[in-house]
Amino acid sequence: MINVGKIKQYSNVLERPLSKGKQEVSLSAFAFLFSELVQYNQTQVDNITELERRLEDAGYAVGARILELLCHREKGNRRETRLLGILSFVHSTVWKVLFGKSKVLSLGGVGCMGTSRLRVGSCNVGSLMGKSIELVKILQKRKVSIALGGYLVVEVRSVNDRLMAIKLVVGGLTFNVVNAYAPHAGLDEEVKRHFWEDLDEVADSLEKGTEHEDEYMISEKELLVNRFISIPKDMGAFNCGAFVAGIVRGVLENAGFPAVVTAHFVPVEGQHRPRTTILIKFAEEVLRREATLG
């Protein structure tokens, strides 16, 4: 460390330069602190709903502050006025700063709307590593409106090796894309039957998902706050992710997008641990305003 001398003297907090967000503490320090936050709040409540609410409140206080700080520092004083803008702010900027990674690979600039024509292309790029700029160029040349990771990926479900369902939002419209890799003629009848059954199932489930246009999800295999936490069996569906849901709610609500945000465990087939989904349900006013803004 270069900073060997005494701690810098500032007469008060306003004199101190705004933090650059580069300073770090160990994950353990945070984990112990968070654990103690949960333990303290357990002593203050007599049921799980109440505990979740208190954790959410604590997160809310963090979210409300982080919004203003990050818009200033990371976004060059641009505010987010649109629904998708703020969502993308949450899962890219906020996630990246707070949890060290951005949630969804977003290439940006690909989703060109304004035309009624929608071109859907599919190309095999192998790995996206180091190829994103190249890919964007090709896509723009071919006028492909959606590419995987293109605009805002709301949900990705990998059903099996051959099936994947992606929920995309492009320019206010929700697209459900099912990417299917059909078995070739030479394969067993059994394999083919399985494939078609699974495809039917996927199609059915998407139907249900589109009923809630005001709901968005951020899925995370393991939330940072849950890294070391095992929920006892008698606590049911309790999820410490309520704290993160609170952060998200704090950011959204303070930016003018009130929403109900909840954290849920969602079992993943073939995995010991369920993943956590942060479910965001926007208030009616938000959608109404969004509609008038066009």
Partner: protein
Amino acid sequence: MITGPTFTTAEFLLRPSFTALCLLCELLRPVSSANSSRSLLVIELNLGIRKMASTACFMIVSRNDIPIYEAEVGTAPKKEDAAHQHQFILHAALDIVQDLAWTTSAMFLKSIDRFNDLVVSVYVTAGHILNMLYIHTRLMLLHDSRNDDGIKSFFQEVHELYIKILLNPLYLPGSRITSSHFDTKVRALARKYL
């Protein structure tokens, strides 16, 4: 003749702001009809401006249009009435801000309203609202200066100060800013840029 927004008594009463209510009483005192009180306001202001060296009234408005900080930062001699009127003009411009704020992602909204020689400039920060009135924290300045760059710089630096206030876990968002350091610094910035 009135170039700024026109107000009706109903608008007055609807506005939940404490400051506006104070002003309402003040305005209603000399004459009972709403019309004459409006013209009275104009006359006083005109007189006021001629006397003043420079006028600048700065206000930070939080959720539910509640002002959490206000300061007369012009060089003109302080006058209680003038201060109230300035705050009133700023409040009247809030409706315009509310609509405008959603049409741009910029924070600095430049001059959104004028009142005779006075101009209302607004800077909308990223956050802070509550209770069904989805409005951001707004920094509002009423001024007679034409120096747009100076105003922008002023807003940006005050914004940074505001972020520092907000980040303090012991400050309750939306409550009054009581820090005297903050006040001193805002006034210094006003001298520098306005």
